[in-house]
């Protein structure tokens, strides 16, 4: 089928001018997607220095410094196009240093050799996915001059290739990389995160629906966690998604942190590319064009109420013949062709652009719009873009960026190849062109590492978490959902330790999965409860010296700073069987009338009274049994 034909049958325009997409059949649109998963490794030290891999509070930074970065040539003499885009304005980057960072993060000392622990983990994961290791690993510098690396590059090394996914797809590569510095705000970065080892897993473009992508991401996440040596928590795993549709282009969406959003990101990108293709078709029909004349309209807005235009030193107009209505058309929720143009312009340092599809607004009056249209000879079918800024150089740069983006919309390839960043809820914004191979340069300060057969053969493959969950179900008799939850939990090592120590699986899983969560919800600082404390309490319950009902109270006391021993002594003093029987006898005798009145129904209420008296130090089952006997005794006597 002719592609143009398919487009016109699939798309329609709503009364408010927005694109209406019927339920998309992803096979028909030719969706092809792949993902890159970046997972922080829980190593003792960073990838190229001996600093710890812990994050600190920004407020605790011990120093600051600032630098500029410049694009450099690849060893083949080329400058990467993504780097060139970042160079459109001079940016001063500021960095926070910490007690936990050193001169390597400051880019003031050559890197240490590649961290063996991180490399070992990379090899473990590679073997787990059935990949082929690289005989000699070479560390490369991947040019990134957005400030997130003090050096201007991210160190990365290809470790293995060609792995298999359960859906029949292929994992192309696994790399070990250094984590970038965390952006504090604008051009300020925090160095505590820089250099934490990451493993980067790249799939082939083997997925064809949004749900496929999410499932593969989930699977890889499970494989990574099976090593037991990856960091957990928000931001420790990030997915980049590569997406294209037929007649569209490859777009890389960076930094999807929540797994649940992946499918939505894919859906919205398909929508965006389809919308751009539809806009292209409409532009061609209208014989649209891109103006070549830069018209200075600064004087037109001398008296404007628009604060942005009023403070601008220079305002240039760009006429886009035939673009009216299309610049303001929504291409995915919250995004328009105009937003795309605006993002391109921002690369030159301007705050954004105005276009006539959205005017009058923002303090610009309809009279001003009319005067502008007249001044630049723009007809009703034409859109006019206003680019304003602090200097002619800046505005000229932004004007060309917008004109360039408009030309792309008209060209045979109307969807540009881009790196985009995810916004809230799954829409995306332009970051820079897709980088090419030119961004790679050898890291001359790090020696290559040989991976010979002996080393590869010595790599021990851990059990997959899915397999482990099955084992918990079968061997320990856990409920399937609990078994899975336990296997995937951060507390898995503690659980296994408890089981090895003879604790019953149900007791251990309930305490680790439910009790701790419940007391945290009620305000206890559960981070203060050590693994040893949990084990001590579980063992006490196992021995019968503490009732399982007392666990929450004891753990709350421990979280509040008490020692386990003190908490147990206070909240669950040991009561002997004789003492217990005496307590029960007294309680039942004192309430003989109540027992006679309620008969066997007295058991429940009296249970509470006894448990309060013995303060949770006795198992409820035992109390219930003795209490029942005592009640029966009293009832028999009364008869």
């Amino acid at each position: 089928m002719d592609c143009n034909e398919s487009r016109s049958t699939v798309l329609s325009i709503s009364s408010d001018g927005n694109l209406v997409l019927p339920k998309t059949n992803y096979n028909d649109v030719g969706l092809v997607a792949g993902i890159e998963i970046h997972q922080q490794l829980d190593t003792k030290e960073k990838l190229f220095c001996h600093c710890p891999t812990t994050l600190l509070d920004n407020a605790d930074h011990t120093g600051e410094f600032f630098r500029y970065l410049r694009a450099t040539e690849s060893e083949m003499g080329q400058i990467d196009r993504a780097a060139q885009e970042e160079m459109k304005r001079v940016r001063k980057f500021q960095y926070y240093t910490y007690k936990s960072t050193c001169l390597v993060e400051n880019d003031e000392e050559p890197p240490a050799p590649l961290n063996e622990e991180a490399l070992g983990l990379g090899l473990t994961i590679a073997k787990l996915i059935g990949m082929t290791p690289i005989p000699q690993i070479h560390v490369m510098r991947k040019l990134v001059i957005d400030g997130s690396n003090t050096s201007g590059f991210q160190r990365t090394a290809l470790v293995a290739i060609n792995g298999a996914l359960p859906n029949g797809g292929n994992i192309e590569t696994i790399c070990i990389e250094e984590e970038a510095a965390q952006r504090v705000k604008d051009d300020i970065f925090s160095l505590d995160r820089l250099g934490i080892p990451l493993v980067e897993i790249t799939t082939s473009p083997c997925m064809h629906t949004p749900e496929d992508v999410q499932q593969v991401a989930e699977y890889i996440g499970m494989v990574l966690r099976s090593t037991g040596k990856v960091k957990r928590g928000l931001g420790t795993i990030r997915q980049d998604v590569n997406i294209s549709i037929r007649d569209g282009a490859r777009v890389e969406i960076k930094g999807v942190q929540e797994l649940d959003l992946i499918a939505e990101v894919v859906r919205r990108e398909v929508q965006r590319q389809q919308s751009l293709l539809a806009i292209h078709e409409e532009l061609i029909k209208r014989h649209a064009g891109v103006g070549t004349e830069q018209t200075d309209v600064t004087d037109l807005f001398k008296e404007t109420k628009s604060t942005v235009l009023k403070k601008a030193k220079k305002i240039l107009a760009l006429v886009l013949p035939g673009f009216a209505g299309l610049v303001g058309r929504e291409i995915q929720p919250g995004r328009r062709l105009g937003t795309e143009m605006s993002d391109y312009a921002k690369k030159c340092g301007v705050g954004g652009i105005f276009h006539t599809d959205e005017l009058p607004a923002y303090g610009v009056t309809s009279e001003e719009v009319a005067r502008l249209r007249e001044f630049v000879h723009a007809g009703e079918q034409d859109a006019v873009i206003l680019v304003s800024g602090a200097s002619l150089k800046q505005v000229d740069c932004a004007w060309h960026q917008v004109a360039g983006r408009a030309k792309v919309a008209l060209s045979a390839n109307p969807v540009p190849e881009e790196t985009r960043k995810m916004l809230e809820e799954g829409s995306t914004a332009y970051m820079r062109p897709l980088p090419g191979a030119e961004r790679m340069y050898p890291e001359t300060d790090v020696l290559p590492v040989r991976i010979d057969n002996a080393r590869w053969n010595a790599v021990v493959v851990p059990e997959l978490l899915t397999v482990r969950a099955g084992r918990f179900e079968k061997d320990l008799g856990l409920d399937p959902a609990i078994a899975r939850q336990m296997a995937f939990s951060e507390r898995l090592p503690l659980f296994e330790q408890a089981i090895a120590g003879g604790i019953k699986a149900n007791l251990a899983s309930r305490t680790l999965l439910a009790t701790i969560k419940e007391i945290r919800r009620d305000g206890a600082d559960t981070d203060k409860i050590s693994d040893d404390a949990v084990l001590a309490v579980l063992h006490a319950v196992g021995k019968g010296t503490v009732a399982k009902e007392a666990i929450p109270e004891i753990l709350v006391a421990v979280a509040g700073g008490s020692t386990v021993e003190a908490a147990m002594a206070q909240l669950a003093p040991t009561v002997s069987r004789d003492e217990l029987e005496a307590v029960i006898k007294k309680i039942v005798t004192d309430r003989a009338e109540f027992v006679v009145q309620k008969q066997k129904g007295a058991l429940g209420p009296l249970m509470g009274v006894v448990m309060q008296e013995v303060r949770g130090s006795v198992d409820g089952k035992l109390v219930s049994e003795l209490l029942r006997k005592e009640i029966e005794k009293v009832l028999a006597a009364k008869k």
């Binding site: 970065l69 450099t72 060893e75 005989p135 201007g152 001359t444 290559p448």
Partner: protein, 382 residues
């Protein structure tokens, strides 16, 4: 192992046996676009000797090497073209640890020729390791009316964060300033804010890798260059343009040595310096070596070797009159090196012994301030 570049840009090492040669690699990386020079700007000379200000990967060793010519420096630092127009000369492309006194002489002659040609200032690109030695050597060999500015980078030029661009721009600004002496211009702090102008005879590399590794020892900076404005500020102590008349005295006595004393050092080690014209000792504290070494030192001096005492403290002045050992050293004929840096004393000794045959006059010259290397007063602490 053979290194293969994948289409993704990654390099990997594979067994050579797995590879088939399709065509040999290009001899060197293609050059960028040449930078246009503004004829209205002052003419400056760039003499390149190598170093990381102009270095890139060497596929032979996989390590960084110096292989740019001066034109490449202009391509690498386009902002230089806004400061001056340049005559460029590639004297050497070596890492600075491979410098020799003979190359210092060639360098002095090349700088002399450029000044004679009429340039407003000279920049010498140089590896940072021995930059201070070369700057000291040129300070003694050359009387210059214009700035002679040594510059390099601590982080190689092939990285986006390299300090080469800022150092280069600041050095060019200093080279057309009112300065009239040999200096080193490098980062003053770890920030990309200000470069320091150090006197060529009072400067030392004090850190292996930091951008602000170079420090003036015993004297304040002679000036600064603001990177953002390119404004050069000189202190009152800085020698001004035109103060000295151009002259070249490029004789050196290469048979001089510098050794650092350490506790337990064997006197036998000193025997290696018999027949040497000069020997600089980097002693402890006020300028001491162990008593056990004194007979051998006495013998060296008696046989015609000039022995100068400096201190490994770096900061402060030698005084061999306080303790017994010092007095014994003076009695043996050791010359006090004042507050000279040990390596500067070595370079000065080469120059003094190359130009003055008479031992007494040579000894007097060692104690005389020639190019700001030797202060009469200790005005500054640490």
């Amino acid at each position: 192992m053979a290194v293969v570049k994948l289409s993704s840009g990654y390099n990997i090492g594979v067994e050579k046996a797995c590879c088939t040669l399709v065509s040999p690699a290009p001899a060197s990386a293609p050059h960028g676009v040449p930078v246009r020079q503004d004829p209205d700007l002052p003419e400056l000379a760039i003499i390149s000797t190598g170093g990381t200000i102009a270095s890139r990967i060497d596929y032979r060793t996989g390590a960084v090497t110096s292989q740019f010519d001066a034109d490449d420096i202009l391509t690498a630092i386009p902002a230089l073209a806004e400061i001056g127009r340049y005559r460029t000369k590639v004297l050497y492309t070596i890492l600075s640890e491979n410098m020799t006194p003979a190359i210092w002489q060639e360098l002095a002659k090349a700088v002399y020729d450029e000044i004679k040609h009429g340039v407003a200032g000279v920049m010498v690109t140089h590896g940072t390791d021995t930059m201070a030695y070369s700057a000291a050597a040129l300070s003694f060999m050359l009387d210059t009316p214009v700035p002679v500015v040594f510059v390099g980078s601590q982080r190689s030029a092939d990285r986006p964060s390299s300090d080469n661009a800022m150092n280069g721009v600041c050095a060019a600004s200093a080279a057309k300033s009112e300065l009239g002496e040999v200096a080193i211009v490098m980062h003053a702090t770890t920030n990309d804010d200000v470069c320091a102008i150090h006197r060529g005879t009072r400067v030392r590399k004090m850190h292996t890798s930091r951008r602000d590794a170079f420090r003036s020892i015993g004297i304040p900076l002679v000036g600064t260059v603001d990177y953002s404005t390119r404004a050069v500020t000189l202190t009152d102590e800085a020698v001004r343009r035109g103060t000295r008349k151009l002259a070249l005295h490029d004789k050196l006595e290469p048979h001089c040595a510098l050794i650092q004393f350490y506790p337990g050092m064997s006197p036998d080690l000193l025997k290696a310096y018999e027949e040497y014209a000069g020997l600089v000792l980097s002693g402890t504290g006020l300028g001491h070596v162990s008593t056990a070494l004194i007979p051998q030192i006495k013998k060296l001096i008696a046989d015609g070797t000039q022995v100068v005492m400096t201190s490994q403290c770096m900061n402060g002045r030698v005084c061999d009159r306080v303790y017994d050992t010092g007095r014994d050293l003076l009695a043996a004929g050791v010359i006090e090196g004042g507050d000279m840096l040990p390596e500067v004393a070595l370079v000065k000794q080469m120059w003094v012994l190359g130009n003055e045959r008479d031992p007494k006059k040579a000894a007097a010259l060692m104690g005389t301030d020639l190019k700001g290397e030797c202060m009469r007063r200790s005005a500054h602490g640490l």
